[in-house]
Symmetry: C2
Subunit: 537 residues, 2 copies
């Protein structure tokens, strides 16, 4: 790339903010093979407004979509007010720390007593490196650190399955080594005996066998003995009973699990997770808690533009703009603006009094709502590191726990906070219907199956979040049922366009539902659309 | 586990220091299924010495083995002096920062000009969570952070290979998705057509097909059409041209590489790396540089016990102990002690004047020496993050670069330092024979093949290390040739026992050669052995 093109791109990057530079590179054909495209975005510029004058926008909801919209509009010269029902920014982006007192919709109050420096991200907890969330961290100066989304030494646990691995916690690395080993052996045998000749050239076959020996750590061909050829017999990849050490200690390996037991256990179904587009390592988190993003946005927007404890009770299109009624300590207050961007969860927005057409209200209310739950459990020592040598990562179980997160911060410290469960759907509802004390007791009972009695020892604090009973959220995320056309149907499409002067945004209007990325890119499209309308006038 | 047993174990842990607790748990049969055993170690206790009196020990060499030995001996009540040829502790554990001026054995001087906060680990750079190195970080209070040893978005690059992927940088995630997809397809076909019936029960077969659908993201069985069944056709795992975004943007996928091209490229041979016992994620590094470990050891040992610039020129067993002659600014000086622990690289130790038996000197000199090289290149912006969305991890190439490390610290910051190459053997020697300026030029020339012109832009500092021409190391690590019996032969075994009052330690006397873990566990065994002899007297 010439200095001139580079210089151009850097100027574009500086002027345009997050994301635009990568997109410009793609547009110039510079990165087709190399760079990963984030969704294009042309942020409004103050200079665009000119004769159009300064427009006012009410952003309904101060979650990630609302904060992104307000931030980009302000940079573009708009006069913005954010109305947020909670007493804080971020919406589902919620970090719980010691001292936080939170009452759910059932009237249950929890006061979190986590120690200083300990926290749990009750909502989003991880950021893929490909998401624009990372760009906003850079732009807002929010330091990031690795979120450990996979760990070879974390456990996979399956119960009520056939075979010898029923109820046996297995190290991720052991399960993977065995599964890759056995399948490499089988494929090598099939290849070598000619079963796949119609699909493979002779060259392919030899290259495939070389690959399988590497990826599966399998033995060589044994002349005249197909059954003994390419055997997988375990090895160091799966871990040691005693690891390689000094002198003559070359390591004591552990025999592999039997193939039939491994297949029957279905632990192998966890392997695809780490290959997912938005779950593959590397993943990141803000240092100190996910809400650092929300507070950085709010600081950039400015306190006077952020109205907290402002629950919206009514909103209407008028001939010249919008009017929004919201709560204040002194009673309901009415605000006026040229436009509104509605980022409220659709199933909640559908209940708010408005003069929107019935079809739009119906569309908002047509989503399916998924619940999710999380519990943070603080221990007085990091036994998963000290006793099990698990430094970060996720232990998976097919119990009601679902996923257990070993913390990605504070390694080797005095204390640590496990996410004892992160689950969705029925399991989340099961925990949600318990009291906080019952949730902890059940989570500990289940956790002991995997980690033993230590799981119940030295607990110094806990907090559990049930998103279905969380005010202003009433669920973890929403989906678009096939019956109404999913994300190509009329209901979904109707919210991609403004209704009068009201725009809609949120992760629910993206193909990255339940990710902050989805909220951000949806908000940016709403901002672009609004700005195009203003500047076309 | 009962509170009593737990209490016992915690007391053992507190009294015994790093590692002993895990071992005690293993000895009690508590962790056979769960915990990962580190090599056992019973550290000396001051109370053991009693009537045996206070013994003096000279530790020859202040690398990781020497520091570990000195630290554990001091805790056990010994009077220890460390003699180190360099002006600093750590040996091959070497972090290079701005201002460091280093002259190699060829007389070439490099002055590193890295910016504040930027550094490169010229020697060891990563710590597996299973290694005792982690325990010493905890015990010494050295904060750790994730070392990003794999990254789905880093590149794999192969040139001079057949097929369409020759000279094409491919994302790790794309190569892996395709390789897993195609092999799953092939194995599913072979399984379904009955080619493997002698190895699989009917239940195994159905379970295997379910597993392959998951791990390979392959299509379903097509009735009556084996060739069309279980097809791999790509998908989001391998990345997008445009990733899923707002509204109707569900993501634009990129077609998979052709199977024959993928096999011919041999990129799949990289996949096994991340499954290795000591390379699987999670991996860690000290915050701020690997030498934080060395300096923490040295601080715990105490400045008055650490003699720097003390090159050992002679050492001898005497009737009552050892005498060691070492350099000082005022000329050679002789030191006496009851024992010595010799941690000097064996091929260098073999050249030092001594009265050791010829067989022992021959054993020391019988090792094979491997070279390794690294270059750190500081850039004025983190283009791998900004342009390529690669946050940490390793890009691999079959060029003379070998491995390129994207830095695991300073994410989203103003500057960053790539490890432009980490290579061994012939490639290391090739770079080692160039001048530092030539090394940078060649590394940039090669790097541009993968990352384009940006690889040569905005370079603000660099430093390259050739371990073969590094004084007091003369290589990266050593091995034990099969011709002399490898690590079970007489030469190796002869150094596991003391020669008179001289003990030997170092990673070269372990099964974790080239790892700090190996140096540590070898040192601990030498300490145990010495202490057993003292207390048996």
């Amino acid at each position: 790339m010439s200095q001139t093109r580079r210089g151009f791109l850097r100027r574009v990057g500086i002027a345009g903010g997050a994301g635009v530079m990568l997109h410009s590179m793609g547009a110039l054909g510079l990165t087709s093979a190399h760079a990963a495209e984030t969704p294009p975005f042309t942020p409004p510029k103050k200079s665009d407004l000119g004769r159009h004058g300064r427009k006012t926008v009410i952003v309904m909801g101060g979650g990630i979509a609302g904060l992104t919209a307000a931030y980009e509009l302000l940079k573009g010269g708009y006069d913005v007010t954010v109305l947020e029902g909670r007493d804080r920014p971020g919406g589902r982006n919620r970090t719980v720390r010691g001292g936080d007192t939170i009452t759910d919709l059932k009237g249950q109050t929890q006061r979190a007593t986590f120690s200083k420096g300990q926290y749990m991200n009750a909502g989003p907890g991880r950021i893929p490196q490909m998401h624009v969330t990372i760009d906003y961290c850079r732009e807002l100066g929010v330091p990031i650190e690795v979120f450990t989304n996979q760990n070879a030494d974390a456990f996979l646990y399956r119960e009520n399955v056939p075979g010898a691995l029923n109820g046996v916690p297995v190290r991720h690395r052991a399960a993977k080594a065995d599964a890759y080993g056995y399948t490499a052996e089988l494929l090598a045998k099939a290849t070598d005996q000619g079963s796949l000749d119609q699909y493979l050239t002779a060259e392919d076959k030899e290259r495939l066998l070389a690959y399988l020996r590497s990826v599966g750590a399998i033995g060589p061909r044994v002349a005249g003995d197909p059954a003994a050829s390419f055997r997988y017999t375990g090895g160091g990849r799966r871990g040691y009973a005693t690891q390689p050490g000094a002198g003559l200690e070359s390591g004591t390996t552990i025999p592999p699990y039997a193939m039939s037991d491994l297949l029957a256990s279905t632990v192998g179904n966890y392997f695809s997770f780490e290959m997912g587009f938005d779950q593959a390592m590397m993943m990141y988190q803000p240092v100190g808690g996910m809400d650092k993003i929300a507070y950085a946005f709010a600081a950039a927007i400015g306190a006077r533009r952020m109205r907290y404890n402002a629950e919206i009770v009514e909103y209407r299109n008028t001939t010249s703009g919008v009017e929004v009624v919201y709560t204040t300590p002194a009673g309901p207050k009415k605000a006026f603006a040229d436009f509104a961007i509605n980022t409220i969860p659709p199933h909640i927005a559908a209940r708010i009094s408005s003069n929107l057409p019935t079809a739009v209200v119906t569309a908002l209310g047509s989503v399916s709502v998924t619940n999710a739950g999380k519990i943070g459990i603080e221990y007085d020592r990091r036994w998963w590191e000290e006793d099990f040598r698990i430094y970060g990562g996720i232990t998976n179980a097919n119990t009601n726990l679902g996923n257990m997160w070993h913390p990605s911060y504070g390694y080797n410290g005095e204390r640590g906070t496990m996410i004892g469960y992160y689950n969705t759907g029925g399991n989340a509802n099961f925990y949600g219907n318990l009291t906080p004390a019952e949730r902890l007791a059940e989570a500990v009972r289940q956790g002991k199956k995997i980690f033993g009695d230590v799981y119940g020892e030295g607990i110094t604090a806990s907090y559990s979040r049930d998103w279905a009973s969380t005010r202003f959220s009433e669920g973890a995320w929403v989906g678009w049922p096939g019956a109404i056309g999913g994300q190509t149907g009329a209901a979904y499409r109707s919210l991609l366009e403004p209704t009068g002067n009201v725009y809609f945004a949120g992760d629910h209007l993206s193909h990255a539902i339940a990710w902050q990325h989805g909220a951000m890119v949806s908000a940016r499209v709403a901002v672009e659309s609004l700005h195009a309308r203003v500047t076309a006038a």
